[in-house]
């Protein structure tokens, strides 16, 4: 009665426990205890089999020593009766001595009999319950039934508990994946995403170690990007390449892998002896668009039984991780592009507001040196001949280098010199970027290793500055460490180089124009001062000349009384020379005004015949002295001309007085005019000495006087024809001379006709 009551209360307890959704280990523990009580036994042992391999998984016991538990659990196949394993029938063992394992247990625990009862569910063996009795126990057979009853109860409970824990884990996995997706979506940073994935995975699998390794496409090494549970030293020691170790196997084959007994698997052999112990390992490949980019691994110091279920879950997580990594990579790429664009934009922006060349040079060097985190930077400019590179600007943290660079200001491009064998010279010659990732390994620039050691750089890149076709200089960036230029960086440097080159050329052009403008202004100023000076001097000369000439002419005209012949002759000489002086002053003033652009013409519609007549009238006396006849032949249809009356008179006066001067006595000077197109052509023809062919072009140059005795002995300033030419050109016309030596000369000039002026 007492027993029955106890049995019932225990059964109640069990069913209560079962309805409370217990964890499988708790349940197994409770059942083991209950089995001892139900069987009125001295000890009991319960194992729940793994569904996949049938091995006992969750073992629990009551009143057994740890040695015995291990013995039973580790050697199930050695002692489990065939009837239990194969047929699912309970077995009663009254003699434990028949089996080696059970004999050890019996001896250790002082037991003599046992009942082994299968735990089944849906006709499948899900566990084994063993109950042990000591030598004092009686009527063992009586106690077997309650034990079987318990075992029958336990089967569904274990199945339920297992399903429940499975469901829980699934729920947890879904939650984890949801978490991961959400958190990854919220942050584009790769390291954050990877940490989230690993934390969730560790929680999910109950593991304490995990790594995410990515394949370095250059070295094929599996580089640890995130880890949990490993010391830095261990990670540094365990360097894996694709194909090495379990992780390397996964990377190579793109398949997941479970190594529950890692140490005994040859694929796991990469761990050094003293590394943190890894008992079990589970890895899944990170696959992006069919390509394995890395491996997600979970491992544990404790022995673990990773299941296929776990594997498929890990694959799901790995998929998420791969997406996160890919997203992060894309994000990084975009961010980098953006920062590159920013580099270029800021460079262009700053250059746009820089006007002088030195500032532009310094700006380019500083900007690109800092953007690329260079140790040193220099910008050298090519000289006009393209033979030398001259330092333009230097970037450096230390003043010493700047000093040094300025000392070595010039660098020849001659291949025979050190400069000619430099990367900079190479970039100029080849007209492309010269990137030296390690100067100590690059044979081409062996001569520069000494320099590299002295300056403390290992790699450098030289960008030729080519605005359109011809290089104008080269930008060099020097890096302390060996550095291989990434394609994007290469592109960026190329674009930056072009931007800088164009801006630089513009600044140089601006500077040249500015210089020219300054020079032009200075020249203008000088010319203005000269004109002012000449104008002032000519006025100052004119005042005394007015008095001299006036009084001399007064005396010569006889107003002060009769002159004797010598007085008349000498005063005549004074008078003539005064005339010459006046003419010289006038010519100088004219030429300086013309050349300074200060001579303003006042155009009118003029009757050419009238103008010619007036000038001839004035020259009559001069012609009469030599008995020269002046003929004027103006064609009827000759229109009025557009001219400054005073200056047109000067042109005619100059040409006609020259003709008189250089014509022999009693000869004829002829003036003709006739319309030609929209112009009037005026000719002054003499029968004088003529002009040598080689001198014809020079007679219009100022201060030029023909190498001819007559010309030399005839007075002239050498400015008359130059002024005449200027005046004709200022009227929009042309002047030229035709001449035969000894046959006279014909000076012709054109002058614009006034349109539609009938007469």
């Amino acid at each position: 009665m007492k027993d029955l009551h106890w049995e019932l209360s225990t059964l109640y307890e069990i069913s209560h426990l079962l309805s409370g959704n217990p964890d499988l280990p708790d349940l197994v523990d409770t059942i083991a205890k209950a089995a001892t009580a139900f069987g009125n036994a001295d000890a009991s042992w319960l194992a729940v089999c793994d569904e996949a391999n049938g091995k006992p998984e969750h073992a629990a016991s009551h009143r057994l020593s740890p040695e015995s538990i291990g013995d039973l659990s580790d050697n199930v196949q050695d002692w489990l009766p065939f009837s239990v394993a194969a047929a699912g029938e309970p077995a009663v063992l009254t003699d434990l001595g028949k089996n080696a394992v059970l004999q050890r247990i019996a001896a250790r625990e002082s037991l003599s009999a046992a009942a082994v009862v299968p735990v089944t569910y849906n006709e499948r063996l899900t566990g084994v319950l063993a109950v042990f009795w000591g030598p004092a126990s009686r009527r063992i057979s009586d106690h077997i039934e309650p034990v079987c009853l318990l075992a029958n109860q336990v089967g569904p409970a274990i199945a339920n508990a297992r399903l429940l824990s499975e469901a829980r884990r699934r729920a947890e996995a879904v939650h984890a994946i949801f978490n991961i997706t959400q958190m990854i979506g919220a942050s584009p940073l790769m390291s954050f995403a990877l940490n989230v994935i690993m934390d969730e995975a560790n929680r999910l699998f109950g593991t304490d170690q995990s790594t995410i390794r990515l394949i370095d496409s250059n070295t094929r090494e599996l580089v640890v990007r995130a880890s949990r549970g490993f010391s830095k030293q261990t990670l540094r020691r365990i360097r894996l390449k694709v194909g090495q170790g379990g992780v390397g196997w996964v990377a190579k084959h793109g398949k997941p892998l479970i190594l529950n007994d890692a140490a005994s698997d040859p694929r796991f052999s990469y761990y050094p002896e003293d590394a943190e112990r890894v008992s079990s390992l589970m890895s899944a490949p990170l696959i992006v668009q069919g390509r394995t980019i890395g491996v997600l691994s979970m491992s544990s110091i404790e022995p673990k039984c990773f299941t296929e279920e776990d594997e498929s879950l890990l694959m799901t997580l790995a998929g998420e991780a791969a997406i996160a990594i890919e997203n992060a990579r894309l994000y990084e790429q975009i961010r980098k592009r953006l920062s590159e664009q920013k580099v270029l934009y800021r460079l262009a922006q700053q250059l746009a507001s820089t006007v002088d060349v030195p500032s532009a040079l310094q700006l380019i060097v500083n900007h690109l040196s800092t953007s690329f985190r260079a140790k040193l930077g220099s910008l050298r400019l090519l000289n006009d001949e393209g033979t030398m590179l001259q330092i333009g600007a230097v970037y450096s943290a230390s003043d010493e280098y700047i000093k040094l660079a300025i000392e070595n200001e010039q660098m020849s491009l001659d291949p025979g010199t050190l400069g000619g064998r430099s990367p900079a010279a190479f970039a100029i010659r080849e007209r492309r970027i010269c990137a030296v990732s390690n100067i100590f390994k690059d044979r081409r620039f062996a001569a520069w290793r000494e320099n590299a050691r002295a300056e403390g750089y290992t790699s450098l890149v030289c960008v030729p500055l080519i605005p359109t076709e011809t290089p104008i200089g080269v930008l060099s960036l020097y890096f302390r460490d060996a550095r291989r230029l990434q394609p994007a960086e290469y592109e960026l440097l190329q674009t930056a180089g072009r931007t800088a080159a164009i801006a630089l050329q513009r600044a140089m052009l601006d500077e040249r124009l500015l210089k020219e403008e300054v020079t032009r202004r200075a020249l203008e100023e000088v010319s203005h001062l000269k004109t002012e000076f000449v104008s002032q001097v000519s006025h100052e000369l004119r005042t005394p000349l007015t008095a001299i000439q006036g009084y001399v002419k007064l005396i010569l005209a006889g107003h002060t009384g009769e002159l004797n012949s010598l007085q008349e002759e000498f005063l005549g000489t004074v008078d003539r020379n005064t005339d010459r002086l006046v003419a010289l002053v006038n010519d100088l003033l004219d030429i300086s005004r013309i050349e300074a652009g200060k001579m303003d013409l006042v155009f009118e519609s003029l009757d050419l015949a009238g103008a010619i007549d007036r000038e001839i009238e004035a020259l009559k006396a001069q012609a009469e002295v030599k008995e020269i006849t002046i003929l004027v032949d103006i064609e009827e249809a000759t229109p009025r001309v557009r001219a400054d009356p005073h200056r047109l008179g000067q042109i005619i006066d100059n040409l006609v007085s020259n003709a008189i001067k250089y014509s022999p006595g009693r000869s004829t000077v002829k003036i003709t005019a006739n319309p030609v197109g929209n112009n009037v052509l005026v000719k002054v023809i003499d029968c004088g000495i003529g002009i040598e062919p080689e001198e014809r072009g020079k007679v219009f140059q100022r201060f030029y006087r023909a190498k001819n005795d007559l010309v030399r002995s005839t007075w002239g300033t050498g400015l008359g024809l130059a002024i005449t030419r200027y005046l004709v050109e200022m009227h929009g016309g042309k002047i030229w001379v035709e001449s035969e030596k000894g046959q006279g000369s014909t000076f012709s000039f054109s002058i614009a006709a006034v349109p539609d002026a009938g007469s």
């Binding site: 004119r542 007015t546 008095a547 002419k553 007064l554 005209a557 005064t578 005073h646």
Partner: protein, 124 residues
């Protein structure tokens, strides 16, 4: 008697013109600056003014403008003495109605011809 006012800051030029014009039987009055010229022109009502352009205090162009702007003197013929290349000044003077101009240095005989022409005195 025909009265001629000569205005020039150079004493030598005034003396030259006084001498030569007196030979022609003209009465010559003179002064060396613009303000004095305007006073004399007002008081003496000359028949002709010979006026130098480049003068201190007030230049000949300004004197000419003032002579033309006063009713009493507005119709007096004026001959300007000018630097040869001051063509703009000549142009301006023409607009203010000058009888003639003479470029310095000048031949006194030619000036006499111009004076007679301006005074409409026939030349023999």
């Amino acid at each position: 008697m025909v009265k001629i006012l000569v205005v020039d800051d150079e004493e030598d030029v005034i003396r030259l013109l006084e001498f030569r014009l007196a030979k022609e039987g003209f009465e010559v009055i003179s002064c060396a600056d613009g303000p004095a010229a305007l006073t004399l022109a007002d008081q003496e009502k000359p028949d002709l003014v010979i006026l130098d352009i480049m003068m201190p205090l007030m230049d000949g162009m300004e004197v000419l403008r003032q002579i033309r702007s006063r009713r009493a003197t507005s119709r007096i013929p004026v001959i300007m003495l000018t630097a040869r290349t001051a063509s703009t000044a000549v142009d301006e003077a023409r607009q203010l109605w000058v009888s003639d101009y003479m470029m310095k240095p000048f031949d006194p005989e030619k000036l006499v011809l111009k004076v007679k022409k301006a005074l409409k005195i026939p030349v023999e």
